[in-house]
């Protein structure tokens, strides 16, 4: 690995990235890979890094896993910057800066009945929460992971699902099945009423995904008795700088990069772009 002074820089320039080595690449689908990157420092699920490659720019990518001296970044090949990242392999390096944002605070969910609903790549920012309760199932009363993907070919973290199914109630559904698929179909919302919850007014809901999926899921959680204050969401926006300057992620008086991306729904419901 080529090292530069950047790895130990003392600069107070908040835009200066550091080099991070690619330790592993996990291919989920044709267009979605997880890059395991070297990073030692405090980081929480739901936080994000600005990932850059010189010549192409920066993109905000949420942390999809936290290891010992590593973070996972799950990247979908859909933009100019992310296309270029896919040309990189184990041993190569990427420039990162961050982590940014508030992230999810696991302490808010301990000892509770939890329903976590994720749509597609929305699973990335909450995967750290699933990993935690999968490893510490006694830290909550119950944990249901409800995830929707477009099709069986779009399923992310297949290996992790095998692990999660041991300790958690896992429901995976796809919008569009393909031949030979024998799992669940349909929208995530239709599975919510059947999730066993003892005290829905105490239970916690965590919802991350496309805007419409989040809206419908939250409505359904209300229908089964969830309280606004017990629902948490994470907002995906175009965060160019990550430090409250560039303006692209601002909604009302809120900067998603500084105040979010994780919000309690009592605040999150007022965020209108």
């Amino acid at each position: 690995m080529t090292t530069t002074a950047l790895n130990t820089n003392n600069s107070d320039n908040p835009y200066l990235p550091f080099l991070s080595e690619i330790i592993d690449v996990i291919k989920h689908t044709e267009i979605e890979y997880t890059f395991k990157m070297t990073y030692s420092g405090a980081v929480k699920p739901g936080q994000f890094f600005e990932v850059s490659l010189p010549k192409f720019g920066e993109a905000p990518i949420s942390v999809s896993g936290i290891g010992d001296g590593t973070v996972d970044l799950t990247i979908r090949k859909v933009g100019k910057v992310t296309d270029e990242i896919f040309e990189n392999y184990i041993g190569d390096t990427l420039f990162l800066r961050g982590p940014y944002g508030n992230g999810f605070d696991i302490a808010n969910y301990k000892g509770k009945e939890i329903i976590l609903v994720a749509g597609g790549t929305g699973l990335s920012p909450v995967k750290g929460i699933v990993d935690y309760f999968s490893a510490h199932p006694d830290d909550c009363k119950s944990f249901t992971l409800l995830v929707g993907f477009k099709s069986p070919n779009d399923v992310l973290f297949k290996k992790d699902f095998e692990e999660w199914e041991k300790n958690l109630n896992v429901i995976m559904t796809v919008d569009t099945p393909v031949d030979g698929y024998c799992g669940k179909c349909g929208l995530v919302t239709q599975y919510i009423p059947d999730i066993p919850i003892k005290n829905s007014d105490q239970a916690v809901g965590i919802v991350v995904g496309p805007p419409m999926m989040m809206k419908c899921t939250i409505t359904e959680l209300f229908n089964v008795g969830f309280k606004e204050a017990n629902i948490w969401i994470s907002q995906e926006r175009k965060m160019c700088c990550g430090i409250g300057k560039c303006g692209h992620c601002k909604i009302d008086d809120t900067y998603i990069c500084l105040d979010g991306p994780v919000f309690n729904y009592t605040k999150g419901k007022f965020l209108k772009d």
């Binding site: 107070d12 835009y15 720019g57 920066e58 409250g244 560039c246 303006g247």
Partner: protein
Amino acid sequence: MGYHTTPEKMNAIFSDLSKDYLIYAPKRFVGDGTFTDIDTIRYGEITDLAEIEFAEKSDYSFKEVLLPISETLFYFTENEMKEADPPKKGAIVFLRSCDLHGLKRMDTIYLENGAVDTYYKRLRDQTKFILIGCENSFDNCFCVSMGTQKSDDYDAYIKVDGQTVLVDSHWDVLDTALAGQAPAPVTPDSVTANDTVVTIPETVPQTLFDAPFWEDYGNRCIACGRCNFVCPTCTCFTMQDIFYTDNGKAGERRRVWASCHVDGYTDMAGGHAFRNDKGQRMRFKVMHKVNDYKRRFGSHMCIGCGRCDDVCPEYISFANCINKLNDLVNDTVKEEN
């Protein structure tokens, strides 16, 4: 302290200061406007007070001195990034009271909201601000409504009155240079009224975000972003990497001005965008300028210079929009009661 001096003396002082400072002021660029035979007034370097356009409002603000339209942040090769060097000289900026209030808005975003911006701070720390007085209000100005018609936190105030230059200095370097000149009390010219008056609604219910009111702007706005680019308080940017054609592995990371009215502002990887409707972009900007910025930072963002109204090719008036929004809010409150 105040002084009366001569243009020759003042120019000699600026000549000395130019060893350490670039001096920026509004200048008339003859024939450089959008249309034939139309001048434009924008910021440029000066060496003589006679080059400054004191009589008219500048079309563009001073902000490009502290926030260049395109600013290189880093030079990079494959595995190294080098911070761009700071400018070798500081800056002296001539500006009006409203713009000096605009500076506070820039400070708030770049120095207080989140981490301190290294690039802004290093320019800001080396910049001195010289106030230009306003003897009369210009078209579309509404500084009095915004409370920005007066400033006292300038480094100096300068007024050229024929062969006399009136100076009020808050800057020791200038005081030293003016030692021996006739002391005299100098009070900056400022206006007490504008033709344009705005009334800002205290609160705007979120239900009005989707009001048909905004559709008018959706139909007229062409998303050119000029209102953002002339605004001294619009500070948004986009990161941009460029690479050299002779060496594709080396290049620069820059930030360039961005506009919430222009397509692409909210585009995310994959193509999803927010506020595709131009009326909603107007709503977003208006709410930022006279509502949500104040809720976060304590003062309105808009400083009432009226440049957005001056520049809009579709004759959209921001000032009228605020007043119409105020009426709409009042009507809505009445209906509810």
